[in-house]
């Protein structure tokens, strides 16, 4: 029982990071109705920015700020250089999906040119684990969970209470109708990308901290898991996505710890990606609009 709770604790940390990444992804999806496949690279750039600033200033808060800012600017650049023009030009969501995949390939390779492909070690002292309720979490983990909750609360406030949030919801629901009522959809989308980028950049920083190292390909791997969480929660639904992330995050930590006789004892954590995609396939096939909607509908573009 104790071990199970420990695992659940780690699951909550993973879920927190995943929730940040997935909500950022789904916000972008909401305002544009296209999946930004280069989303993972926002996290990667956030991690590199954090690392560089941390090296120079030695301050973790400065690193976090740098990661968020770099992420925000990256996402804004993605929107204004590729996604926005493609939408304006009338490209289908699939074409934009392909274009952002190409963009992701470009960014990964440019990062390799600048920083090299080898692992960058980013080890912080996580501090001694403490007993928090039933879980054993070190101060770093606690910070991650608390910051994820804080960001969620702020985001909830922005989306539900501010004028910008109202515009964001309007554009997400119906871009054309929002336009008719005088909302500048392009600007709202750009601002949303910046906001999503801030969150994703920060997520890149905490992910790098938790994992302890990263490469130019680091964000892409996490994007694949992010996608699962976002689809499970319902693409474009910010809070459904958060719930999806919590479920996927916990499943990813708990399943490998289950004593299932498989390949010599336990399911190795390396199968994470396979497990995530197993969940993804099931969700898409049976609940394509997400776990928290009741309509079972076929997905036609």
């Amino acid at each position: 029982m104790h071990a199970a709770l420990l695992t659940l604790g780690f699951g909550i940390v993973t879920a927190s990071i995943l929730a940040l990444s997935a909500v950022a992804f789904t916000l972008q999806y909401g305002v544009t109705n296209v999946a930004n496949v280069s989303h993972g690279e926002i996290l990667t750039i956030g991690a590199y920015a954090a690392y560089l600033v941390h090296q120079r200033t030695g301050s973790a808060p400065a690193a976090a700020l740098a990661a968020a800012l770099a992420g925000g600017l990256t996402a804004l650049a993605m929107y204004s250089s590729v996604i926005g023009p493609f939408i304006h030009f009338g490209a289908s969501p699939t074409v934009i999906f392909i274009a952002t995949l190409g963009l992701s390939f470009v960014i990964q390779n440019v990062l390799v040119i600048i920083f090299g492909a080898s692992n960058v070690a980013y080890n912080l002292d996580p501090g001694a684990p403490q007993q928090i309720g039933p879980f054993l979490l070190n101060p770093l983990d606690q910070q991650i969970v608390i910051s994820a909750i804080a960001i969620t609360v702020v985001l909830f406030f922005i989306i539900s209470r501010t004028k910008f949030g109202k515009a964001l919801r309007a554009v997400s629901q119906n871009r054309e109708l929002a336009r008719v009522t005088g909302i500048n959809a392009t600007r709202v989308a750009a601002a949303t990308f910046f906001l999503a980028g801030l969150i994703a950049g920060y997520a890149g920083f905490v992910l790098a901290e938790t994992v302890g190292s990263f490469t130019p390909y680091f964000g892409f791997g996490f994007f694949l898991i992010t996608l699962t969480a976002a689809v499970a929660g319902g693409l474009g639904r910010a809070f459904g996505t958060m719930a999806g992330a919590v479920i996927v995050g916990i499943v990813l930590e708990v399943v490998p710890a289950l004593p299932v006789p498989f390949v010599g004892g336990y399911i190795s954590a390396s199968y994470n990606l396979a497990i995530a995609f197993g969940i993804l396939a099931l969700v898409i096939l049976f609940r394509p609009r997400g776990l928290f909607t009741n309509a079972r509908r076929t997905v036609f573009e």
Binding site: A91, G102, N109, V112, F277, A281, I284, V299
Partner: protein, 332 residues
């Protein structure tokens, strides 16, 4: 002929077969399939386990037979089709657009993770090796003449596949696949069985992928997870896109252009100022510059010339329905 040219032509022919297979799935059927590299990998892995003989400890892998190469290739192609049947019958059911792409992306990463992690299958990350000069001893070829033989084999196979695809392109099947791409509901209204047609197209594409993988295995003599990464499929997509999606002459042109970019684009890079400012000592830089250029080409073509350099010929109705003129006015 220099050894360099021989390897470029061999690679180009294999790459061409891969692109022609992808063209069936994306060019004609219109599905952005990200699992495609998985079928290439299945073809390569299966060819190896069927030809290199029983594993020597500590290596472990399935089968470990010593079949003649052509027979192994046939089985490898069937295996690739079998995997594609599983993925396709799930993904093509009622998923379209990005949902299809996401599921196939998932499928290929599952394959990749299993190939790398599940050691009893294909020896995990170590992968398989030891396919030396298949069919070479039948003709008594030494190492050097074998390279020419393999080049010739791959070129002949490419020509054969090209011819076959040009026949398929203008066949009823090829036309029907295109209707699905253009308007699935209209095709259904005309009595087409969408699911079966799409699945057939998908299997044909995967078969070509598996076949190219089998030749690839002979060329590389070995295969492991570092020889393929699912995202490499972008290179194939850019070849199909640049040349002209749906048009096999375009696809062949795209292969030549991307082949040139892959092999030649970075030749002059290290001497450029600026690039050297970073870590030129890093061998990865050249590969990365190549990748960045390919990705950029893909994005720019999608934006500015999505039909490619040699666009597919659009089929026009030569005898459009005329409004009837000699009909008596309808009177009650």
């Amino acid at each position: 002929m220099s050894a360099y040219l021989v390897s470029v032509l061999t690679e180009g022919a294999i790459f061409g077969i891969m692109a022609l297979g992808l063209n069936v799935i994306w060019g004609w059927s219109g599905d952005f399939d990200l699992a495609y590299y998985g079928y290439i990998a299945v073809g390569a892995y299966m060819t190896l386990v069927l030809t290199i003989g029983a594993p020597i400890a500590p290596a472990q892998y399935i089968l470990g037979a010593t079949l003649p190469y052509p027979l192994a290739v046939v089985i490898a192609v069937i295996s690739a089709m079998a995997v594609a049947l599983v993925v396709g019958s799930i993904a093509l059911g009622h998923l379209r657009g990005i949902y299809f792409s996401i599921v196939t992306l998932g499928a290929v990463y599952v394959m990749y993770v299993f190939a790398g992690q599940f050691v009893p299958l294909f020896d995990g990350y170590n992968g398989l090796s030891g396919l030396f000069d298949p069919m070479g001893d039948w003709f008594g070829l030494d190492y050097f003449s074998y390279q020419y033989f393999l080049m010739g084999l791959c070129l002949v196979m490419f020509a054969l596949v090209y011819f076959l695809m040009s026949r398929v392109s203008s066949s009823r099947f090829g036309m029907a696949l295109r209707t699905l791409r253009e308007d699935e509901r209209a095709a259904a209204a005309f009595g087409r069985d969408i699911y079966r047609l799409k699945l057939k197209g998908y299997l044909l594409g995967a078969a070509l992928g598996g076949f190219a993988g089998a030749l690839f295995a002979a060329y590389l003599t070995a295969f492991n997870t570092s020889a393929w990464s699912p995202i490499e499929v972008i290179v194939l997509y850019s070849a199909v896109l640049v040349g002209g999606r749906g048009n096999i002459r375009g696809v062949a042109l795209g292969v030549v252009i991307m082949g040139l970019i892959v092999n030649e684009s970075t030749r002059f890079l290290p001497s450029l100022p600026g690039v050297g400012a970073f870590n030129t000592d890093h061998p990865q830089v050249l590969l990365a510059a190549r990748g960045a250029i390919i990705g950029l080409v893909l994005v720019l073509f999608l934006r500015f010339r999505p039909q490619g350099l040699l666009p597919e010929r659009r089929f026009v109705d030569r005898q459009p329905a005329q409004p009837a003129t000699d009909v008596a006015p309808l009177t009650a």
